[in-house]
């Protein structure tokens, strides 16, 4: 889907995550980058350097917001103060869409600061879809929900992860931020076929794709974002592009961050899979 209502009919190419170690080079040398993804929470502050840098970035680049703590899957409604600050940042950045994760992360106001996996139950579908709708209504732009990497599954689950994702996005009428690295990591941790997952995703709802690196431990994979993208993930990405079409793609690199040039070069490898995408889009 080159453009759809879940990415506000934009046609963004390959972007990278805006990270502090790269501020200097970006502001000084103004490298050619199609767009930057920012972690919303890093800029939901009232003053200081982060907002100052962001304003300079916004003068030169297109920015899309990605959140890490809205916790759509919490069994509570979204925090109003959090939403107010998020909406304020949306007005500042002009982000065409925003994303956060298909997960939960706080209980009774106490935060884990993690992206915890959902039990794939019908009740969870209802809570999650309702929370996404509330966020979408408040911010006034399309919201895309991202599948997470997970290391645990629940006895209570009544469906697969991809069925859960489909139920949620249909009921919330929202977009999908398809993280192909997360699909791969979870497929290895839970023993499912990543291509079955991918083929179940409603392509018309995919607003954006994430690629990233992970770490292989003896008995599980961990989503660390501290490596280049590994071959099996590129293969899944290629399959996704073949199915979905040219889609805004973002490389996440959050730990042991190399130079800006190295991160950007890694992201641009996605170009290998993009040129023919429009001709074979579903």
């Amino acid at each position: 889907m080159p453009a759809n209502r879940f990415n506000a009919f934009t046609e963004y190419g390959i972007g990278i995550g805006l990270r502090i170690p790269h501020y200097g080079q970006i502001l000084e040398k103004k490298p050619l980058v199609d767009w930057f993804e920012i972690i919303s929470e890093n800029y939901m502050v009232d003053g200081g350097r982060a907002l100052h840098v962001l304003d300079q970035i916004l003068e030169q680049y297109r920015v899309v917001q990605h959140g890490v703590s809205m916790y759509f899957g919490n069994a509570t409604r979204p925090n109003r103060e959090h939403l107010r600050k998020l909406a304020k940042l949306v007005r500042r950045t002009g982000t065409p869409w925003l994303s956060d994760h298909l997960c939960w992360g706080s209980v009774d106001g106490r935060f884990t600061h993690d992206l915890l996996p959902m039990p794939y139950t019908w009740e969870a579908v209802e809570w999650t879809a309702r929370n996404i709708r509330e966020v979408q209504d408040t911010v006034g732009i399309p919201v895309a929900v991202e599948n997470v990497s997970s290391y645990a599954e629940f006895h209570a689950s009544e469906m697969t992860e991809w069925e859960f994702l489909c139920e949620v996005v249909e009921r919330a009428d929202c977009g999908i931020l398809l993280d192909v690295n997360n699909i791969y990591v979870s497929s290895k941790n839970h023993g499912f076929d990543p291509y079955v997952y991918l083929d179940a995703v409603p392509v018309g709802r995919v607003a954006q794709i994430h690629i990233a690196g992970h770490t292989r431990y003896e008995r599980y994979l961990l989503d660390t974002h501290d490596h280049p993208v590994l071959d099996p993930v590129w293969k899944i990405y290629a399959h996704a592009i073949a199915r979905i079409g040219r889609t805004a793609t973002l490389l996440e690199w959050d730990d042991r961050i190399p130079s800006f040039d190295e991160v950007h070069a890694e992201a641009l490898k996605a170009n290998r899979y993009l040129p023919h995408a429009n001709t074979i889009a579903a």
Partner: protein, 305 residues
């Protein structure tokens, strides 16, 4: 009215009996919030939660899967707290700081969506629980106060600055000034500003002595002695960086009085109530302070919300 399209992928089974989502989340979060055992082994209560809610697979038991999240929670929060309170870490040493951090996080947790606020209750915790910082409780508290002030000064709001002509338009007996939110005013018993600057310079590690902090590699020592007189410190922001500025006691009292809403005239009277200087000297001193503070942008516009 059109009915919104709701294409369900699966047929919902009727009357399925499930634990409530909130109960699952409370149980799992409760397990994560329990401290890790000293050897990062299994908490017995967590084993029960894992068995009840989490599926094992062919490589990991239920509790092992829960442990991945349990460890991530503690490593993430301990790391974030250690980053914000590096000076306190150095003063207490590795082991004591970790015990304090675990106790603090168990008792207070994180009630904000941002880790920026993780240390917001640490000062109150240190005041209530000095056993975690003895025999350096006073120093630890001073260091924590400065380090928390740094967090606030870094990104608290900056309101529109007061202009000189606005200041001149209102007589001092009616003029009330608002102080910038990012300006933190602290009275300390130790020269924490010097300590933190030295620690930053030599990347020091803590040792057992109560007053010396030594860089093990370079054998450099930072000496911390209780000051004979209280130190008055402004922790503030300029050009998006955090700075320390020592203040005279009268200047400190004046700024505190202004922040509490006193008129400029009353604030000056409060600040110099016990000062024996001649009025002319005092007036000159106040003029110089106000000139400096205006330059720093410490006063907000009178119309600021």
């Amino acid at each position: 009215m059109p009915i919104p399209s709701r294409r369900s992928v699966r047929i919902r089974p009727p009357n399925s009996v499930q634990p409530k989502l909130r109960d699952i989340q409370r149980a799992i979060a409760g397990a994560l919030f329990r401290s890790l055992n000293s050897d990062e082994g299994v908490q017995p209560a967590n084993a029960m939660v894992a068995e009840r809610f989490i599926k094992p697979n062919d490589r990991l038991s239920a509790i092992e899967r829960l442990q991945i999240y349990h460890q991530q929670y503690w490593w993430r929060l301990l790391g974030a707290l250690g980053e914000d309170f590096r000076g306190l870490h150095a003063v207490l040493g590795e082991s004591k700081f970790e015990k304090l951090a675990v106790a603090y996080l168990e008792a207070c947790g994180s009630y904000s969506w941002t880790l920026r606020n993780l240390g917001s209750r640490l000062i109150a915790f240190l005041e209530e629980r000095p056993e975690y910082t003895r025999p350096r409780a006073d120093l630890a508290l001073d260091v924590a106060r400065v380090e928390w002030a740094r967090v606030l000064a870094f990104d608290d709001p900056e309101k529109p600055r007061l202009k000189a002509e606005q200041l001149a338009q209102t007589p001092p007996d009616r003029l009330r000034l608002t102080v910038q939110p990012y300006l933190n005013l602290l009275e300390l018993g130790h020269p924490v500003d010097e300590l933190l600057s030295n620690l930053k310079r030599i990347s020091a590690a803590a040792v057992g002595d109560t007053v010396a902090i030594v860089d093990r590699r370079q054998r450099k020592t930072v000496i911390v002695r209780r000051s004979r007189a209280p130190i008055h410190l402004a922790v503030h922001r300029a050009n998006f960086s955090v700075y320390y500025k020592r203040l005279d006691p009268e200047a400190f009292r004046l700024l505190l009085a202004l922040r509490s809403g006193a008129t400029v005239e009353n604030a000056c009277a409060t600040a110099f109530a016990e000062n024996k200087k001649r009025p002319g000297q005092i007036a000159t001193q106040i003029q110089k302070w106000f000139a400096d503070w205006m330059e720093f942008g410490w006063f907000c516009s009178l119309n600021s919300p």
